[in-house]
């Protein structure tokens, strides 16, 4: 009864794009690393440790960006029941989890260098840690439920609810007294990040964005195939299925029930 079809165009496209994105990531990553470690000046107050900025801020930005993508994919999963979006959701959740973990780890190292503390119960740090737990939830739900697609639908609701947390992270340094500095990249006046720091940061952020694209292009086809290989959710049927069993067997089944 089953026919075979080639995989959707988007899956093939992501497979074809992946090597090119990987090459671009490595090339731009090399340039960004040189600009950050060699050509960028030391800060008059923080000294050489300011170079942690480039990996820390890029990871933190990507942790927020990935959650936005997660919510977008979640809408497509809930609204259209699209398996490709579910695969993108899973790939993005993995990437976002690691970006968030990196933001916390590099921030901890930077905090030890500047504040003398590996960790503080600070609003920005705690809110970023909560984001990590949210990513863990989004990753765990599909694995926890027997039906993987039903798990992704539950995780999509979590992604939409979790959107509320993004402004809390962003404005945590404004709303609460914080060890963490306020935003300086897009600030105006004297507190604005100087261009000699901003240019390498922009290059590194673009590298991270390309890296995210590469990871999604590599992981989405794998997740897509896994979704097709596992039994999907039983929802109210939109299209009638052709009967699998012969009519006599179906009648017998009715008698037995």
């Amino acid at each position: 009864m089953s026919e075979t079809l080639p995989p959707p165009k988007l899956v093939l496209l992501s497979l074809r794009l992946a090597p090119w994105l990987l090459a671009a990531t490595l090339a731009l990553g090399g340039v960004a690393s040189l600009a950050s470690l060699l050509f960028s000046p030391a800060d008059w107050r923080q000294g050489e440790t300011v170079r942690i900025l480039y990996v820390h801020v890029s990871a933190a930005w990507m942790s927020l960006f990935c959650w936005l993508v997660l919510a977008g994919a979640g809408v497509a999963v809930l609204w259209r029941r699209c398996i490709f979006s579910a695969a993108v959701f899973e790939a993005t959740a993995w990437a976002g989890f690691w970006f968030t973990a990196l933001a916390l780890i590099t921030g901890s190292i930077w905090g030890r260098a500047i504040w003398g503390l590996w960790w503080a119960w600070d609003a920005r740090l705690v809110s970023e840690l909560i984001l990590l737990f949210l990513y863990l939830g989004a990753l765990s739900l599909p694995a926890a439920l027997e039906n993987r697609f039903a798990g992704i639908r539950a995780a999509s609701i979590l992604a939409l609810v979790g959107l509320v947390h993004l402004p809390i992270i962003k404005f945590s340094v404004v709303w609460w007294i914080s060890l963490h500095q306020t935003s300086s990249v897009f600030a105006r006046g004297e507190s604005r990040l100087p261009n000699e720091f901003f240019a390498p940061l922009l290059l590194m952020a673009l590298t991270y964005l390309l890296l995210y694209g590469t990871l999604v292009c590599l992981r989405t086809p794998v997740a897509y195939q896994r979704f097709l290989a596992t039994p999907l959710v039983a929802l109210p049927s939109a299209t009638a299925l052709p009967p699998v069993a012969p009519p006599s067997a179906a009648a017998d089944d009715g008698d037995n029930s």
């Binding site: 990871l215 097709l228 109210p236 299925l241 006599s248 089944d253």
Partner: protein, 61 residues
Amino acid sequence: MSQEWAFVLAAWLVSAGVLGGQLIVAWHTRKTTDPHQPTDTHQTTNQKPQKKHPEAPAAKR
């Protein structure tokens, strides 16, 4: 090497390790995936799973 550079290198090495590891794992997984694997067109999210009929009723006949 100053202590400042030690912190910088630690942060950069952790970043490179985590992100590089992610890329290697994803690339390896992708290489073991066959994009032309046949897909079952009857598996869509809107369909109820097929109930398997036991052999017993058929044997009754």
